[in-house]
């Protein structure tokens, strides 16, 4: 097991890019900043399955983003949140 780059509670930014391959980051989450909610396991890299076997595997994190930061004019409660699974190579530490 490789060591996890990020830990619970760290503030991270999700990359805003669109590789020419199947990837598992929906458009609304690209470029967004959130907190690591949970460090998960290593899984096959979806971008490496189209030609290959998904290796090397990548670690998944659950990232928690306040809904009010995600959507303009969000109408729900200020405590509403969204949590999403993001592979490690899509994350960087945010200021």
């Amino acid at each position: 097991m490789t060591t996890a780059l990020f830990e619970v509670g760290q503030r991270v930014r999700i990359a805003d890019r669109t590789p020419p391959a199947h990837h598992r980051v929906p458009g609304y989450a690209k470029g967004q900043v959130g907190f690591i909610e949970r460090v998960c396991g290593l899984h096959g890299d979806p971008e490496k399955f189209i030609r290959g076997d998904g290796k090397p595997p990548r670690r998944i994190y659950r990232v928690r983003i306040p809904q009010a930061e995600l959507w303009q004019a969000y109408s729900g409660a200020t405590g509403d949140q969204l949590e999403i699974e993001i592979f490690e190579h899509w994350l960087e530490l945010a200021e």
Partner: protein, 208 residues
């Protein structure tokens, strides 16, 4: 499968007499190629379909009832869902399984915006609305409006937490145990739990 007499044709039960879209034709051709290339056998395919059809939200209900009845089990379930679910004898796919607990100040709801990921191996086939473009697009952006359409009215003292199941984890909501169920058997408690409550589009479980 006209004019095609390989063995695996006989195990295939089409939903329609003829493929009705280009996508369906491509899907059928791909299936044939995968079987002919030896990636899996028709029998293995049948076994997977049978297992999925055997799974049902009742299994989720039993897991919730155990968690309500046994605080130690609940702690294990919330910490490592897959291990705790296998503890009860369920065979689930090798995904990480994450159980999200509702409480007085939190309501969880599950979606897969990218496709329609769903814990089929535990809860069986997903409802049609879960796969609809409308649910997938709207529940992340306006969860309270979507939940209200399902009859879930939430005050501002309850935070909504939407879980987008975009990769390799699978989710189940642990609903709140209904009031006035002290002393109920796990079997009786399990019967209260609905599929929608396990997805998060229902919050209150009626007891009558």
């Amino acid at each position: 499968m006209t004019g095609h007499d390989h063995d695996h044709s006989r195990t295939f039960q089409p939903d329609h007499a003829e493929p009705h879209s280009d996508g369906a034709r491509v899907g059928l051709a791909l299936r044939e190629l995968l079987i002919e290339a030896g990636h899996y056998t028709p029998e293995e395919e049948q076994a997977v379909i049978a297992a999925m059809q055997h799974a049902s939200p009742q299994d989720g209900g039993r897991i919730a009832a155990r968690a309500w009845s046994d605080p130690d089990y609940k702690a294990r379930l919330l910490a490592n869902g897959a291990a705790a679910i296998r503890e009860l004898g369920y065979e689930i796919e090798p995904y990480e399984f994450t159980v999200m607990e509702n409480d007085a100040s939190t309501h969880n709801v599950i979606v897969c915006t990218l496709c329609s990921c769903y814990p089929r191996s535990l809860l069986g086939m997903s409802p049609a609305w879960y796969k609809s473009a409308s649910y997938r697009a709207r529940v992340v952006r306006e969860p309270r409006a979507v939940l209200a359409e399902f009859g879930v009215e939430l005050g501002d003292d309850v935070n909504v937490r939407v879980h987008d199941s975009t990769a390799e984890l699978r989710y189940m909501v642990l609903p709140q145990r209904p009031d006035n169920t002290e002393g109920w058997s796990e079997e009786k408690l399990a019967d209260l739990v609905t599929r929608d409550a396990l997805i998060g589009t229902q919050r209150i479980l009626p007891t009558d």
